[in-house]
């Protein structure tokens, strides 16, 4: 095996010889605390005893996703879909098992998270681009495309707090897709904006898909899954109930819902 660079080891640069995403027997347990923790008084009065129920959001899930695959994660509410995306996005560390990503990951989990109301649109593009991991030159290079796609030419030097919520989301989306990540995580993102913008964002994502990007998409909209994905992972109570072609996956999901 060729020697990997340091940046490949930490996952900041693509190493084509390995899969895009690997989940190796990942278990994620949530502690549902019965009271909000963290006070000194709590710690002094009950140093060891704490009251919580454990809930396995993911139970020994193993998945391998190759470069260029587009995987739809489906399942009922609380089946662990969003937890899975957060693990791949590195927002949460797995309690057990390992998550390995290979290449730049960007998430469309929350558009415009990190926008600062007092800063202008222009400043927020720079700030948000940097939050999503872009360098200065990369932001400069993508700046015009972002502005054009979001349609904020007129408002570039206006504070973002005056933007309508729809406009802010559009700007967030424009920045996120401009990151041009190797692995894109999408969570119900198409539910935002007007019909025209939804159409444009779907086209943009299909474009990225054709360009060979890896997708992980969480959606309850089975039509979107059918049009975007070539593989479906069905989660049920934190376990993989199905992993395979889209048609069979969607059928399995409908059976599951019919069974109650």
């Amino acid at each position: 095996m060729a020697r990997r660079t340091l940046r490949q080891v930490v996952g900041a640069q693509v190493d084509p010889s390995r899969p895009a995403v690997v989940l190796d027997r990942v278990t994620q347990t949530y502690r549902l605390h019965h009271e909000r923790p963290g006070g000194l008084k709590d710690r002094l009065s009950r140093p060891r005893r704490s009251s919580f129920t454990e809930l396995d959001a993911l139970d020994a899930v193993s998945l391998t996703i190759e470069h260029g695959e587009s995987v739809g994660i489906i399942g009922r509410n609380g089946s662990g879909k969003s937890t899975l995306l957060k693990l791949v996005a590195r927002i949460l560390p797995p309690d057990r098992g390992a998550v390995r990503t290979n290449g730049r990951v960007a998430s469309l989990l929350e558009l415009g998270a990190g926008f600062h109301g007092d800063l202008t649109g222009r400043e927020n593009i720079h700030l948000n681009g940097a939050i999503l991991g872009l360098g200065r030159a990369e932001i400069a290079e993508r700046f015009d495309a972002i502005v054009e796609f979001a349609g904020v030419e007129q408002l570039l030097d206006t504070a973002v707090r005056t933007y309508s919520s729809g406009l802010a989301v559009r700007l967030g989306f424009a920045i996120a897709v401009a990151v041009d990540p190797d692995i894109l995580l999408v969570d119900e993102v198409l539910a935002v904006g007007d019909a025209e913008f939804q159409q444009r964002s779907l086209e943009r994502m299909l474009g990225l898909r054709r360009a060979g990007r890896t997708f992980l998409l969480v959606s309850h909209d089975l039509e979107v899954v059918a049009s975007m994905c070539d593989r479906v992972v069905l989660l049920e109570r934190g376990r993989v109930a199905f992993d395979g072609p889209v048609d069979a996956g969607l059928a399995a999901y409908r059976d599951l819902i019919d069974a109650g």
């Binding site: 340091l6 940046r7 930490v10 900041a12 963290g38 006070g39 000194l40 710690r43 957060k86 996005a89 590195r90 927002i91 949460l92 560390p93 990951v105 998430s107 989990l109 929350e110 998270a113 990190g114 600062h116 007092d118 800063l119 400043e123 720079h126 700030l127 940097a130 939050i131 999503l132 991991g133 872009l134 360098g135 200065r136 932001i139």
Partner: protein, 285 residues
């Protein structure tokens, strides 16, 4: 030990990759603080100027601390103290206050507290530029000659402040009472540090109680304050109960080395405790 080194090594690579984010956050801090105007910066100098005036009157007229050019002596220490306290205060809220962001996007979390340290450092440098003419006027041109020593010490000090700030930022996530304790911690630390008085004078007065004297010297801020004042105000010795100021001059090599050791130790430990806790921030918030 190896695990700790590997952890910090990985974090360091990620931080280098995220340098643009740090730059953008610092720019945001400065813009919000100065509101984009020169006058904005001058406003932030109002507090140190007023505090210096009040303390100078109190400690040269009412309670006499016999230090030559007390105002120059005080302002140097006070600016340094403000750097420490404001960095820690900003960092304290930096993770908890950005909970939405931390729960939704991954980036090396260190940039949030470090952006406060960096913007406060820039502020300290600007403030020092403003007071330097006054220091030269009261303490003589030797201040200019020894200015490089002060700048070198700033780098060392910044490492120390970064370590303390990272600790405060991470600890506040799991122990929210820290926000309430913060004011008290810094009030006590302020009076226990030789900002208002020279260390030599305090040690001479406390010679009868060796424990207090040791505690006073064990405080890292004492080391930084004394070393930092040497080039900008002077070194102070106590002869027959009177404070004699010599200088401005180079800081003693011993105190420069002690300061560096403190900075390195606190910097690494603070970063390590932050890096260990950062993994679960998204869950704790």
């Amino acid at each position: 030990m190896t695990a700790a080194l590997r952890l910090l090594g990985t974090r360091a690579i990620e931080l280098i990759d995220a340098r643009e984010l740090l730059v953008q956050l610092v720019r945001k801090e400065l813009k919000v603080r100065y509101r984009g105007s020169v006058l904005g910066f001058l406003w932030t100098m109002l507090t140190p100027a007023l505090v210096t005036t009040v303390f100078s009157v109190v400690f040269t007229r009412v309670v006499r601390i016999g230090v030559e050019d007390y105002a120059a002596f005080f302002i140097v220490g006070y600016l340094l103290w403000q750097f420490l306290q404001n960095s820690c205060q900003g960092s304290l809220h930096s993770i908890v206050g950005n909970a939405d962001l931390v729960k939704k996007v991954y980036f090396p979390r260190e940039v949030l507290p470090l952006s406060h340290v960096a913007s406060q450092l820039i502020h300290l440098v600007l403030a020092l530029m403003v007071v330097t003419p006054y220091l030269v006027w009261t303490r003589g041109p030797a201040v200019l000659v020894h200015l490089p020593a002060a700048l070198a010490l700033l780098v060392v000090l910044a490492v120390f402040v970064a370590g303390v700030s990272l600790w405060f930022a991470a600890t506040n996530v799991v122990l929210r009472d820290l926000q309430e304790l913060f004011v008290v911690i810094f009030l006590v630390w302020f009076y226990a540090s030789p900002v208002l008085y020279p260390l030599a004078l305090a040690r001479a007065e406390l010679a009868a109680s060796p424990w207090l004297s040791v505690a006073l010297r064990a405080n890292p801020t004492a080391v930084f304050l004394e070393a930092f004042r040497a080039p900008l105000h002077g070194s102070i010795e106590v002869v027959d109960g009177a404070a004699i100021v010599t200088g401005p001059g180079w800081p003693p090599i011993g105190s420069a080395l002690t300061a560096t050791a403190w900075a390195f130790g606190v910097g690494v430990l603070g970063w390590l405790s932050f890096a260990r806790r950062a993994r679960t921030f998204a869950r704790e918030l």
